[in-house]
Symmetry: C2
Subunit: 420 residues, 2 copies
């Protein structure tokens, strides 16, 4: 069984808006063992939409429309689906009554146009939508001798998502052969994709029944494994076996196998050991603190810190001696070290982490003027010992800042792994 998703809406044919429902729908359909083979985005034009519906019916078993079920003239999905299927539309009395009631409850008169939200394809099942005025529709029919399942869903994600998971998914599951999916995601920071692939491909290629995807970006590699079997036990056992073998190969390069982010893992490791962290950020300018504090309950391990963008603030909040900055420049291993030690002793945290570097696009000033863009020093102090790492990052300002924050988190993780 293959599916096509048709997203209807002219706004998705502008440079400003993208269809995002299809990512959600794809994950849900994959759960049912259904592969998405085509996605089509089409505007609010009856000819274009009807043509797209005909094309989809000719090449997919399941055709899912999202959007175009509203009350305006631009909402044409019902009409297009009916035309492509050669079906009539009937106005459903119960739905119409419910629409009138919905407006009355808000002391409003229903505009005549809204009545079309009670229009149903001949033979379709109405899918109640508790979060909006347009119901979904599901039609299980035969076109030119082939079974076709046609599903109409409202466009707003907060309507579409619960409607799919609560109503459509059980209906589809009941008519499809039973499939159970098990997934695992292994995440590794700061490691080249080719390196991961060279070491893991000989293992995962043995598992031809498991779908493996490698995703690279934002300073990490993700390995996604999906196993689809007729029992959940079998699927889980299979994907767990592969995961164990990859974990044995990559060991501590893997920071998470349940989907947790690097900042979540670092916070969890600190919290489990009753340790705390403070940060003194120059080039990352709050990004590291922001990533950590985006995690709920991060205050259990992260106390806070300082954003020390000027030389004065490095001295004021992290006790960096002025003469160190004057001698070596703000972007130096000496300043990274002093920042890490200073923020640690100032705040009383177990660890002090520090970043200083040249994020670009313009060069540093004074003693830092000749240092290259992308040069970053990370300092980590535990009170007894301070480690300083030198990075040469190659990218724009956002890239340098992100990778610096990623290296800082990974330095903490590696230190916690080896010391304790």
């Amino acid at each position: 069984m293959i599916a096509e998703i048709i997203a209807a809406g002219s706004e998705m044919l502008t440079p400003h808006r993208q269809d995002t429902n299809s990512l959600f729908l794809t994950a849900q359909l994959n759960d049912l063992g259904v592969e998405v083979a085509f996605k089509t985005i089409v505007g609010d034009n009856i000819d274009h939409l009807t043509g797209a519906a005909r094309t989809a019916l000719s090449r997919a078993d399941i055709v899912i429309f999202s959007g175009g079920l509203g009350p305006t003239e631009d909402d044409l999905t019902r009409e297009a689906a009916a035309a492509a299927l050669g079906l009539e539309i009937r106005r459903d009395g119960d739905l119409l009554a419910a629409l009138y009631k919905r407006f009355a409850a808000r002391q409003m008169t229903m505009p005549p146009n809204n009545a079309k939200q009670a229009d149903i394809l001949e033979g379709a099942t109405v899918l109640a939508n508790p979060n909006g005025s347009a119901p979904g529709q599901l039609l299980d029919t035969v076109v030119d001798g082939y079974r076709k399942v046609v599903i109409l869903l409202p466009g707003p994600p907060r309507e579409l998502k619960p409607l799919f998971t609560e109503v459509v998914k059980p209906l589809l599951a009941a008519t499809l052969p039973p499939r159970y999916l098990a997934r695992r995601v292994l995440r590794m920071p700061l490691i080249p994709e080719s390196h991961v692939d060279a070491r893991t491909a000989p293992i995962y290629r043995e598992y031809t029944d498991i779908q493996t995807t490698i995703l690279a970006g934002h300073g990490e590699i993700q390995l996604h494994f999906v196993s689809s079997k007729t029992t959940l036990f079998e699927a889980q056992a299979r994907v767990d076996e592969l995961t164990s073998r990859i974990e044995a190969e990559m060991q501590d390069a893997i920071y998470s196998s349940q989907g947790e982010s690097l900042e979540e893992v670092v916070l969890l490791m600190l919290e489990m050991r009753h340790l705390t962290l403070a940060a003194a950020e120059s080039c990352t300018g709050g990004l590291l603190a922001q990533r950590l504090t985006a995690v709920p309950n991060s205050s259990r391990a992260f106390v806070g810190g300082a954003v020390v963008y000027t030389p004065e603030l490095k001295t004021l909040f992290a006790d960096v001696p002025e003469e160190i900055i004057e001698t070596y420049g703000a972007v130096s291993p000496e300043v990274a070290r002093a920042l890490a030690e200073g923020i640690r002793s100032r705040t009383g945290a177990t660890f002090g982490i520090a970043t200083t570097g040249i994020a670009g696009p313009t060069a540093g000033t004074g003693l830092d003027a000749d240092k290259p863009i992308g040069l970053v020093y990370i300092g980590l102090s535990d009170g007894r010992e301070t480690r300083v790492k030198e990075l040469h990052l190659n990218g724009d300002r956002d890239y340098v800042r992100w990778w610096a924050s990623q290296h800082a988190l990974e330095l903490i993780r590696q230190t916690l792994l080896t010391n304790l």
Copy 2:
């Protein structure tokens, strides 16, 4: 002239990856006066891809493929386009020689598979790709009596984008009727979309020759105006006239009319007045500093500050008296005021900005335990006067933190507008 964009690649039919090239291509095509009517996403399957190519040729004048030009078995765009057009593929001798040279320069032997990157559709123009090994192709032909322009582009954005702007766009522009586009974007923070629309629609509706788009999200409203005329002067004059009228209506609610972000505008206003800013962040946890320092040269106006996640750090870095926290709780107007005043006088900045609130998903502790999630106080001090704003935000942790940072920036902007 209408266009269809076909994105080829099985990874875009998973829940993990989305086609993003089409947003860029749509903006570029719109510049040329070409509307995108369909977008299709299809996997690395020769039958699916050929079928999608046939469908596109039947409904669009310009068909642009992105992806599937690499050297692997999965790269099938050339073959599919040739099959749909009924054309032969020829292997280009010059391109093949260049490929061998490329590998030799890296002291590598070219795998035989890579030779297919020299395959060109009969009659197509080769589009040199300086950023990768696969050239683009452009074919201006006639199918069933209709002119069709077929363009094959490599998938990686850093190859596709320069190839389109530098090579394809001039080629297309030369064959299309001349069109000049002028654009303006007005941005307004923290204002309801309905409010903006009610006040501006009576004006922009008069300009039926200007395409107006309202985008809402991330705590701001954007009004996009695009005018398309046969001379640039005419297009610019028209869009400028509308912009002036909307600016007269919305006045200071508009923070930017050239696309600048709110943080850029705040930094620029501070810098022009030779003023500086420091931040003490509790609930935003570094997000405000991170947004400001993401702007190049932000250190000219933003000195830094402190992330004060614990009561102790509020006292340590911003001199908030312990008894204030003990009396009112950390999430209180009194603490917001003390944080703003404390970080200002500590750092010597002109302004001190502070955030304290309950971002969720869990409630506060101690005196803050009964305060609702989404309660946030923003403090802004200039040394003489301190303003405190109370917010009741309704959303998840990310939402509360983002809107709090947006309100903080807007409070600074409004203060600078009125005071100076």
